[in-house]
C-alpha cells in the first residue's frame, strides 16, 4: 500500500477546504450558485470542488502508475502520442463501391492513415440490394456490397497490404470479412499480411443498435469462429471491436456504456475460452470502440477507467499472462447524438471538444463527425473539416505533447474511480444474472438504456440540460448547408449488376460452396473457410446469410421501450 496522499497532508487539506466551504456558503444568500445541482450529461452529480480528500483512498502505484504499465490508467503504450499519434480514421461509405473508392482515395491523399468503411442498411442486415426488404435503402447510409465484385471495386488501387481497414459490420461480419480476404488473395496478398478490424460485436446489437439476424447464442458462435480463424490464419486482424459507441447513442449514460461494453467483452472472452483457445492467443487482438460525448471530464475519466478495469478483469478474472492481453486499445467516435440539425456549424465546435476528450483519454484511433452528419452522409468538404479538427488537436494545440496530461487532477482521478466503481457494480449485477447473454434475454440492458434515454430527453425538454440552438439561444433562420444526395438511380444499377453476376457465375460451383457452408454451420465446424470459398465463387452476401438464417433461425425485436 502506498497512498497517493499522506495522512498529514490530507488532514491539513481537509481543514483548508472545510474553512473554505463555510466561507463560500455564507455568500450564497446574496449570490447563489447558478444551479441547484450540477451534473454531467449523464446526470452524474458533480461537486463544487474536488480536493485530495476525494482521492484519499487512491494508491498511486496500484491505481494510476505509469503509461505502458499495469493497470494502464495513463495509457497502454509507454510513449503514447510522443511516439506515434493516434490513427485518424474517418468513417466513409456512400452510394456505390466506385463512389466510396473515390472518397477513400481522397481521404488517403488528405493525410488519413486508416480506412473505415460504412455499409448501407441492406448490407448491414445481410440482404442483397434486390431483396424486397431492401427497397429504397441502397447506398443511403453507406456502400452496398452484394458480391466479391463490389468488394474488389471498393478497394481498387488502395494499398491494403500497408493500410489497415476497419469495417463496421455486424451480423454478416464473417461474410464481409471473408469477401475481403478473398479479394486480397485474388490480388495476390497473403491473408497473414492483412491488418484491420471488423466490428463483429453482436451483443451490443441486441442491446442497442438493433441490427440483427440470428438469435444471441448462434451469433456468439459465429463470432467465436472468426476469433478462432483470426488467431490461426489472420494474426494482424482485430476480429471484434467491442463497442460502447452504439450503446451510448441509444441513450445510455457514460457508466452504462462502460459497464455494458466491458460485460460484452467478458462474454466474448468466455466464449473463446470455452472453444478451447488460450486467452493470451486471442485477447491481444480484441479491441474496443467508445463514444466521446460532450461532457469533457466525464468522458476522459471513462476512458481512463475503461483501461484500468479491463486490465484488472483480464488479469484477475481470466489470468492473462501476456501484457498485451491486458491492454484495452480503443477507437473513438465523437457522439453523433450530440449533433444538432439547428445551427449546424456549431457541430464543428462540439466535435472538437469531444475529440479533445478522446485524445486526453488516450484513444488509439479517432473518427470525428462532420458538421452535416446529423442531416445526411457528409459532403467531402464537411468530412475534410472534421479531419482537419483532428490535425489541429494533434499538431497545433499541444494536446499531444505530454502523456495523460490531466492525470493527477483531483476531479479527473475522483471521477475515474467513481466510474470504475459504478461500472463494476453493474457488471456484478450482470454476473449474478448469469452473464451478458442471459441479461440480454431478460432485457436488462435494453430496459436500463430505454429509461436513461427517456430521462435525458425529458431533461432537455424541461431545459434542465442545455442544447445550444435547440432549447436555448435559438435562432429562427437556418444557415443552408450543402447536402450530399444519393442518386436514386443507384439502386436500379446495383440490382442490374448483382443480377448479372448471379447469372454469369459458375452456378454449380456457387451452389456447392453454399452447401458446404451449411454443413459447417450444422456440424459446428468453423464457417470462415467455406465463406472464403463461396465468396470466390461469387455467392452473394444474402445467399450466405440466408444459410445462417436457415440453420440458426431469425431473431426478432422483443420491443422494449
Amino acid at each position: 500500500m502506498s497512498l497517493t496522499y499522506n495522512r498529514k497532508m490530507l488532514e491539513e487539506a481537509g481543514e483548508v477546504y472545510d474553512r473554505w466551504d463555510r466561507e463560500v456558503e455564507k455568500t450564497f444568500e446574496k449570490h447563489p450558485e447558478r444551479l441547484e445541482r450540477f451534473s454531467t450529461v449523464s446526470d452524474m452529480e458533480i461537486q463544487r470542488i474536488y480536493t485530495p480528500k476525494d482521492v484519499a483512498e487512491q494508491d498511486f502505484v496500484r491505481d494510476v502508475g505509469a503509461p505502458g504499465q499495469y493497470p494502464f490508467t495513463r495509457g497502454v503504450q509507454p510513449t503514447m502520442y510522443r511516439g506515434r499519434l493516434w490513427t485518424m480514421r474517418m468513417f466513409a461509405g456512400l452510394g456505390s463501391a466506385k463512389d466510396t473508392n473515390a472518397r477513400f482515395h481522397h481521404l488517403v491523399n488528405a493525410g488519413q492513415t486508416g480506412l473505415s468503411t460504412a455499409f448501407d442498411m441492406p448490407t448491414l442486415m445481410g440482404y442483397d440490394t434486390d431483396s424486397p426488404r431492401a427497397r429504397g435503402e441502397c447506398g443511403k447510409c453507406g456502400v452496398a456490397i452484394d458480391t466479391l465484385r463490389d468488394m474488389e471495386e471498393l478497394f481498387e488501387g488502395l494499398p491494403i497490404d500497408r493500410i489497415t481497414t476497419s469495417m463496421t459490420i455486424n451480423p454478416p461480419a464473417p461474410v464481409i470479412w471473408g469477401m475481403y480476404i478473398a479479394m486480397a488473395e485474388n490480388r495476390g496478398i497473403d491473408r497473414r499480411q492483412l491488418g484491420g478490424t471488423i466490428q463483429n460485436d453482436m451483443l451490443k446489437e441486441f442491446i442497442a443498435q438493433k441490427t440483427f439476424m440470428c438469435p444471441p447464442k448462434p451469433s456468439l458462435r459465429l463470432i467465436t469462429d472468426t476469433v478462432e480463424f483470426g488467431t490461426q490464419e489472420v494474426p494482424r486482424w482485430n476480429t471484434i471491436s467491442i463497442s460502447g459507441y452504439h450503446i451510448r447513442e441509444a441513450g445510455s449514460t457514460a457508466v452504462q456504456e462502460l459497464a455494458f461494453t466491458l460485460a460484452d467483452g467478458i462474454a466474448y472472452v468466455d466464449a473463446a475460452l470455452e472453444r478451447g483457445l488460450d486467452v493470451d492467443d486471442f485477447a491481444p487482438r480484441l479491441s474496443f470502440f467508445f463514444n466521446s460525448h460532450l461532457d469533457f471530464f466525464e468522458e476522459l475519466a471513462k476512458f481512463r477507467a475503461a483501461r484500468r478495469m479491463w486490465a484488472r478483469i483480464m488479469e484477475e478474472r481470466f489470468k492473462a499472462k501476456n501484457e498485451r492481453s491486458l491492454w484495452l486499445r480503443f477507437h473513438t467516435q465523437t457522439a453523433g447524438c450530440s449533433l444538432t440539425a439547428q445551427q449546424p456549424y456549431n457541430n464543428i465546435v462540439r466535435t472538437a471538444i469531444e475529440a479533445l476528450a478522446a485524445v486526453m483519454g488516450g484513444t488509439q484511433s479517432l473518427h470525428t463527425n462532420s458538421l452535416d452528419e446529423v442531416l445526411a452522409i457528409p459532403t467531402e468538404e464537411a468530412a475534410t473539416i472534421a479531419l482537419r479538427t483532428q490535425q489541429i488537436i494533434a499538431e497545433e494545440c499541444g494536446a499531444a505533447n505530454s502523456i495523460d496530461p490531466l492525470g493527477g487532477s483531483y476531479m479527473v482521478e475522483a471521477l475515474t474511480d467513481r466510474m470504475e466503481e459504478e461500472a463494476f457494480e453493474i457488471i456484478h449485477k450482470i454476473d449474478d444474472m448469469g452473464g451478458m447473454l442471459s441479461a440480454i434475454e431478460k432485457n436488462y440492458p435494453q430496459q436500463e438504456i430505454a429509461d436513461a434515454a427517456y430521462h435525458y430527453q425529458q431533461q432537455i425538454d424541461r431545459k434542465e440540460k442545455t442544447v445550444v440552438g435547440v432549447n436555448k439561444y435559438v435562432t429562427e433562420e437556418s444557415l443552408p448547408v450543402e447536402l450530399l444526395q444519393i442518386d436514386e438511380e443507384l439502386e436500379r444499377l446495383q440490382i442490374e449488376r448483382t443480377t448479372r453476376i448471379r447469372n454469369d457465375r459458375d452456378r454449380q460451383r456457387a451452389r456447392d460452396c453454399l452447401e458446404r457452408l451449411e454443413e459447417a454451420c450444422v456440424e459446428g465446424r468453423n464457417v470462415m473457410p467455406p465463406i472464403i470459398d463461396a465468396a470466390k465463387a461469387h455467392a452473394t452476401l444474402q445467399e450466405m446469410c440466408d444459410v445462417f438464417r436457415k440453420v440458426f433461425g431469425e431473431y426478432r425485436d422483443p420491443g422494449i421501450y
Binding site: 442498411m121 441492406p122 448491414l124 442486415m125 440482404y127 424486397p132 426488404r133 431492401a134 427497397r135 429504397g136 435503402e137 443511403k140 447510409c141 446489437e205 443498435q209 438493433k210 441490427t211 440483427f212 447513442e249 441509444a250 441513450g251 447524438c337 444538432t340 440539425a341 439547428q342 446529423v374 442531416l375 445526411a376 452522409i377 430505454a450 434515454a453 427517456y454 430527453q457 425529458q458 432537455i460 425538454d461 442544447v467 440552438g469 435547440v470 432549447n471 437556418s478 447536402l483 444519393i486 436514386e488 426478432r556 425485436d557 420491443g559 422494449i560 421501450y561
Partner: protein
C-alpha cells in the same frame, strides 16, 4: 368513465435501420400523454405497417427513420393506406430528414415531419391539435 374515444397511435420503424431511440422515446411520450400506442417493432416493410395499423384501427401512424430511406418508405406507407382504402389514418414522420425532402414528403401526403430538435411536447401538442379520434 369510458365512453370517450381514446386516441390510438401506431409508432412504426419502416425499413432496415434499427436506430429506435427516437421511436421508443416517442412511444413513451405518447403513452404519458394518455394515448394508446401500438408499437410495430423494428424492420417493418411499409405494407406490414399498413396491415397492422388497419387491424389496430389507429388514428395516426408515426414513422421514424434515421438512415436516409424515408424518400421511399414514408410515401410507400401513404400509398398502401390509399390502396387499402384507409386514407383516414394520418401519417407523420420523424428522423434525420433534410429540408428539401420535407417538402416532397408533405406533397406525398405525410402530414408533418419532425426533425431532430423537435421536443416531445411539440410533437404531442401537434397530435392533440391535428388528430382527432375517429367518430
Amino acid at each position: 368513465m369510458e365512453r370517450n374515444r381514446r386516441l390510438r397511435v401506431m409508432v412504426a420503424k419502416p425499413g432496415l435501420d434499427g436506430h429506435d431511440r427516437g421511436a421508443r422515446i416517442i412511444a413513451r411520450a405518447f403513452r404519458d400523454a394518455g394515448f394508446e400506442v401500438v408499437y410495430s417493432g423494428l424492420h417493418q416493410t411499409p405494407e406490414e405497417i399498413v396491415h397492422a395499423a388497419i387491424q389496430e384501427d389507429v388514428d395516426l401512424i408515426g414513422l421514424s427513420s434515421l438512415a436516409g430511406a424515408h424518400s421511399y418508405l414514408f410515401p410507400a406507407v401513404v400509398e398502401f393506406l390509399k390502396e387499402r382504402d384507409a386514407e383516414d389514418i394520418q401519417v407523420i414522420g420523424g428522423g434525420i430528414i433534410p429540408e428539401e425532402d420535407i417538402t416532397r414528403l408533405k406533397a406525398a401526403g405525410i402530414r408533418e415531419i419532425f426533425t431532430p430538435g423537435s421536443t416531445l411536447d411539440d410533437i404531442v401538442a401537434w397530435v392533440r391539435e391535428n388528430v382527432n379520434p375517429k367518430e
